[in-house]
């Protein structure tokens, strides 16, 4: 099991990570210029960062509205019980709903927070009524509809 412990990386690696978080499509040649190395060791560092699991994957970011996804929400979900089997069953159901793009177990008000994205309010309602609230472990749900998004950074603040 890979238990995600902190891995070593130096100042140059940090710079690489910052650049690649913001722009994964940069050429290795340009990246090497930006960090002040030649292409060969630059590539070597990127490969190591990938192999060590620091870089997990690369993704294209789409414009939700342009693909017809007009409604995004956060939903606080309370479960009927907190034992492992309940949570596992809930997770399993949630994982099968592509509109649920995030699911986090949290402290505080609810037990879980979901991020859901769908076409419009109608399809959102349908999704909630026919899929989410149908999961038998679900007790309560509280929706927060996103009116607008001011910040959605894909760049994590790498600690010194």
């Amino acid at each position: 099991m890979d238990n995600s412990i902190k891995v070593k990386f130096d100042k140059i690696d940090r710079k690489i990570l910052e650049i690649l978080q913001g722009n994964a499509k940069i050429t290795n040649a340009q990246l090497s210029k930006d960090i002040g190395l030649s292409p060969a060791p630059t590539l070597e560092r990127v490969k190591k960062l990938e192999q060590s699991g620091i870089i997990k994957s690369y993704h294209a970011k789409l414009d939700p509205e342009k693909i017809g996804l007009g409604v995004s929400t956060f939903v606080l979900v309370g479960l009927i019980g907190h034992n492992k089997s309940n949570i596992d069953a809930f997770m399993k159901e949630i994982n099968q709903i592509p509109e649920v793009i995030e699911c986090h177990h949290i402290t505080g008000t609810g037990d879980f927070i979901l991020k859901i994205i769908s076409k419009d309010i109608n399809s959102y309602q349908k999704l909630m009524l026919e899929q989410v609230s149908e999961i038998k472990e679900v007790d309560s749900m509280q929706s927060m509809v996103i009116l607008s998004t001011f910040k959605d950074s894909k760049v994590l603040p790498i600690p010194a």
Copy 2:
């Protein structure tokens, strides 16, 4: 102003978008095989999707724990007023805090929801006390600490 209206794309484009959301590093040659076209028109389609703004950008996804980011939270923030100048001022401050990786204006309980990521509980507390709560438009704050993340999909469900 680009007002993010829905743009046309066909079944092949949808497949391209699905693949690129999950794996932005695929070669054009492989992508063309996966969608059943030759490289030239494949590349042409990808370029069009980029130019039309459907594809906004490409990002490397890092493992937060491996770079020493152990604490992620959602924070519900209430503002002292809801007029535009207040909200603008708040946004401006929020944008300068790299630990705040998301900021959404929402309906429901609070006015805004933030996603914050930091090194540990101490640095989180420091951030909240010295930066977020210092913003003068901020009235109330309610933190939800993420215990674990079960799903964090970068693939949006493109409607039919």
